[in-house]
Symmetry: C2
Subunit: 487 residues, 2 copies
């Protein structure tokens, strides 16, 4: 593309993005399309001849932009938030333009060095000791896979070389509430789903450290080789918090690698008052935190911190020993040695821009606002007799359900439980169909549970208030319809 044309097109793309974010509240949060519809509209034989740029950009505006699920919408409350700050987008644009593949220091010096600088800035901001070092990955799936590869290496001493042949069967421990990425990592690592033991949780859905210790003892007696424990601070379903300090005691006593999954909740450790939830994580061997979730960094950016960089490298690196330097301290560090991939983005660039733009104080203020909004929503739900909360809300997620008046007092009956589930599922679908918000569900103790996750950088008080108003309005409507037999 000629230089002048490219410049004009880049400005057009800037306007597409600026228009999108300016108009974001005009979109139905979940787009009004059904599976296969876009394929029927856009498919055809592969384009043989070039098409004019203006046609393509017109279709981007008409077909692409409206038909994503609008994660950037301030009323996107589903799953966990993942919204991109403006400064982050600038960083993403610049890094894309440079197209620097940061696998060796030599393939992107500023990429490698800004990664070192910003990993350390985050480490310090999060209140973790200086013996933690780290690396950026694309996702928590990869950060945890890498951490558990290191745990496996630590337990076996030679898995990267000898495979799992010579090893006793490996066990990983986590709770039933852990994210699926942990079990998926076990599948990939050759440990298998059967090698993951789900430790019992207490009534707050937090891992029971006594049950953990017992499980390890049982397994050792049965010939398993315990390799590591994954504790979660802020589980995906309900943001439960495992007792990391007690779990760290067990790991220390048993000589096991402790990996802490704080992918979602981790950023709140920037706020000193929140650090009670994180007690003990400073004793972990590795920690994952996703800036692309609740730190407003454009997707993708997952931070893996570890106090054992050399084991991580031993698990994943193929550089011969005699070429190694002392952990990259004196020469440029080659980050690919600490991750499963060779090629990698220079994520330090956007992170460096973002941390300077917000400052730690700016990030704390935005997180605190989200924490406050979640607490307000939780209080409003608690105050409404037609609704009930189904889990504690220590971070930005509120888990609750509708409890229609006609069912109150009859909760013990099995038929009522089924009716409650059906009513809440119907309510969620009706809410999402309006396009005015988007939320997802989980099951808490088997019950269908609505989740409102607050943490989008564009979410303000009015969006949460509107959401709560809409929940109550549609519930009342459904209740009226049910009462008049029109269900």
């Amino acid at each position: 593309m000629p230089a002048a044309e490219l410049r004009a097109a880049l400005h057009e793309a800037a306007d597409i993005v600026a228009d999108y974010l300016e108009d974001i509240e005009g979109y139905a949060v979940f787009p009004p399309v059904s599976p296969g519809e876009l394929t029927r509209r856009l498919d055809g034989p592969p384009p043989e001849e070039p098409e004019p740029l203006e046609d393509i950009l017109r279709d981007v505006r008409a077909q692409v932009v409206p038909n994503v699920t609008h994660w950037q919408h301030p009323s996107y409350f589903a799953y966990f938030p993942a919204s991109a700050s403006g400064i982050g987008l600038l960083g993403e644009m610049v890094a894309s333009g440079l197209n620097a593949n940061a696998f060796l220091w030599r393939t992107s010096p500023v990429g490698a060095e800004l990664e070192g600088i910003t990993v350390d800035w985050l480490r310090e901001g999060l209140g973790l000791p200086a013996d933690f070092d780290g690396v950026f990955n694309d996702t928590a799936s990869i950060s945890s896979l890498a951490a558990l590869a290191a745990a496996r290496q630590h337990a076996t001493g030679n898995a990267s070389q000898a495979g799992l042949l010579a090893s006793a069967p490996l066990r990983l421990y986590t709770s039933a509430e852990a994210h699926s990425s942990i079990e998926r990592a076990a599948m990939i690592l050759g440990i298998g789903r059967e090698g993951v033991r789900k430790v019992a949780v207490d009534r707050d859905r937090a891992m029971d450290p006594i049950a953990l210790g017992q499980a390890i003892t049982e397994d050792r007696a049965a010939g398993w080789l315990p390799a590591g424990v994954v504790a979660t601070i802020g589980t995906t379903s309900t943001t439960a918090v495992d007792p990391v300090a007690a779990i760290a005691d067990v790991c220390a006593a048993e000589g096991l690698w402790l990996h802490v999954d704080a992918a979602y909740a981790g950023p709140t450790a920037l706020i000193p008052a929140m650090r009670g939830h994180f007690a003990g994580w400073e004793r972990a061997d590795s920690i994952v935190i996703n800036p692309h979730k609740w730190m407003f960094t454009p997707f993708d950016c997952s931070l893996l911190l570890t106090r054992r960089m050399s084991i991580l490298r031993e698990a994943l690196s193929l550089v011969p020993e005699y070429l190694r330097t002392t952990d990259g301290k004196d020469t440029g560090r080659d980050y690919n040695e600490y991750i499963p991939q060779l090629g990698r983005r220079a994520r330090g660039i956007k992170m460096w821009m973002q941390l300077r733009y917000f400052g730690l104080s700016g990030l704390r203020a935005r997180l605190q606002e989200h924490l406050d909004l979640a607490a307000e929503l939780a209080a409003a739900i608690d105050a409404d007799p037609d609704f009930e909360r189904l889990a504690a809300a220590p971070f930005g997620l509120v888990c609750f359900r509708w409890r229609p008046a006609r069912l109150v007092g009859r909760e013990g009956e099995a038929a009522v439980a089924a009716e409650l589930d059906a009513a809440n599922e119907r309510l969620m679908n009706r809410l999402n169909e309006t396009g005015r918000l988007f939320l997802s569900h989980t099951r808490v103790d088997g019950s269908f549970t609505l989740r409102i996750a607050i943490g989008n950088i564009r979410t303000e008080r009015r969006h949460v208030e509107d959401a709560w108003r809409l929940v109550r309005e549609l519930a009342a409507e459904l209740d009226g319809a049910d009462a008049s037999g029109r269900r």
Copy 2:
């Protein structure tokens, strides 16, 4: 960031990228920095307070842009090319602005459906049969990891569930010339480096299929469980081509998964006249091709094609069986089930824009130009008595060395071999120090070998001619210096 400020900043970022690409030839291809220098300049305590946007963007221009290794420079000839087309950059910008995480159909309908459409466009353009389906990953490392997880699942029947406990020791076969990502995948998968058997190559550095068959027979007799073979079309060191058709025969006879690594050379299969190099790959179980290498797609984008999507899913997916649909044909496909990660970029957006912009004919024309330039360079080297080629150049890479006149005719001597290596290493370092180009090396049969890899979308004939002129000039200079005893 307020909307108006964000719009202005996005336009400023557009100008940063446009200026960069317009001025790209003004940069030293490898930046004039040494390890640690940027850290000393840019590090400090984590920023507590926000900094003004203009300061950050000023530093981006002053500190970041000049200090990447300039992969976009038309005289970047190192490793393999990875340059971003203008249209690809627009796609990257738009997708970043939408920030859509395409792990479920539901989390990005247009992301999922454009992925389906463009994977099929590429499949058809590459001349592969319709029973190949596929998915985009970040890197070939991940595509091959996923493919080999599927191979492992295919061989064991239950590795994702049971791990490798019950299995006989697994073996993967590849040549000594294979990319390190294959061995790294084996490390991650619990097969270990010892589970990778390097099959002998012929004098063209292509895998010997007879030796492969013998290795499998030997291993079976010794109790190994052969799990898969990785053939390479265009090896990293010299772009050697394994005889895929003969290897496919062995795999068919032995019931082994065949994975073809065409990460670099794959795009040239868009040109029907090139398909001789790819004979037999249509019989592979899986193939990896990297559009972010020689198809001008901004980093990252790796295409994994497979005729066995269901085994790939079985190896990597955690969705319970009873929730599954028939391979995603009738409802939206959830692409995360086919990859190691959960979260993922919507890479179909940029690919859809790029394929329409160039058309297959446009991509073919650009590839053909690079093939022609490489052939011309190879011919020029062959015609120069002071240089010799050390490998065939079927694609865009030319491997050669300088052979100073004073050493000609003495190649048999060990001292001369060492002198040749030293002379070529010195020549490469001198060339790279000029900043006028950037190239990397390999060893061919133990000899230090210069590599010039042509395939950057901005590379024109003049850049290759300039490079070749500079190589000869600096060689002559070094020769003069050596001759006068000033080395």
